[in-house]
Symmetry: C2
Subunit: 167 residues, 2 copies
């Protein structure tokens, strides 16, 4: 059983990760790789499947908003090898908290957006307005929060202003 080390060119890695060749060189320059990228004849970069796997993790962490410095820190820890799992755990938990918070924030925003969609639907088709008892998707869940961002209450004056302003 010889070691079946996959040898991939930068172009191939770009293809299967979706990153550009530029981004791959940039990531390397930024110290985001765990293993120093090997070089083949002519000084060309040679990647292994492990590199691709690591990049896959990187891509997911990036997509969830982890900034490059944090990603570099994580790469550093992994590069150092076993023994720093507490730190890795801390880093991951922090990121988990960020992502969770972000999802929460987006969900709140989505409440307003849905509300506005409902408002415009009603303006365009007032007859079926009753079908949607309320525009907020889950107003029963917590009217408080909804009100805290001014989501629920109607116009302040006696005359309804532009629906765009009805927060």
């Amino acid at each position: 059983m010889a070691e079946v080390t996959t040898n991939l060119s930068i172009g191939q890695v770009a293809e299967r990760t979706g990153l550009s060749v530029h981004a791959l060189r940039f990531y390397e320059h930024e110290g985001l790789f765990v293993n120093p990228v090997r070089r083949g004849p002519g000084g060309r970069r040679v990647y292994s499947q492990d590199d691709v796997d690591w990049l896959t993790v990187c891509i997911i962490l990036r997509a969830s908003g982890m900034p490059l410095p944090a990603l570099r820190r994580y790469a550093d820890l992994v590069r150092q090898g076993a023994g720093n799992e507490e730190e890795r755990l801390t880093l991951m938990r922090e990121h988990q908290a960020h992502v969770t918070a972000q999802i929460g924030r987006l969900a709140e925003c989505l409440d307003l957006i849905r509300f506005k969609v409902g408002v415009y639907e009603d303006v365009l088709d007032p007859d079926s307005a009753g079908d949607r008892q309320c525009h907020a998707a889950s107003p029963s869940a917590n009217d408080e929060d909804a009100n805290s961002i001014g989501l629920i209450d109607g116009p302040r004056g006696p005359m309804a202003p532009d629906p765009a302003l009805s927060l």
Copy 2:
């Protein structure tokens, strides 16, 4: 009942919206206001409660990732007044789709992050590893998706590599 038009300075608006005075001027410059900002003596900006309300909407849309050009487009439509509700609805629905997609993406990322947190927890406290039957939070929900981002499968070789690489 005289018209109780609140007259706010840029500083007051900054205070109650959380935007900086710079950002407020910038937003105005970018055409993000529905009503042209009034000017008081000495050319100073005077804002109304409606402006603050509108800014509140803007902030929520921005927080959910709407780019300034889209926000400007929306402001343009509102400024034009009633009659273009279809366009506003379209715009809002598109944004709703973006936000929903983004939440979905983040939730997927969160799966990996939770998995990694679980891996490191086990490394640090192997005895209670059995408590958490599986690291993925909801693996029964859709193993397929989890696998599609390489979340579930173990090491490829006979020897387990660094847990960081166990995607």
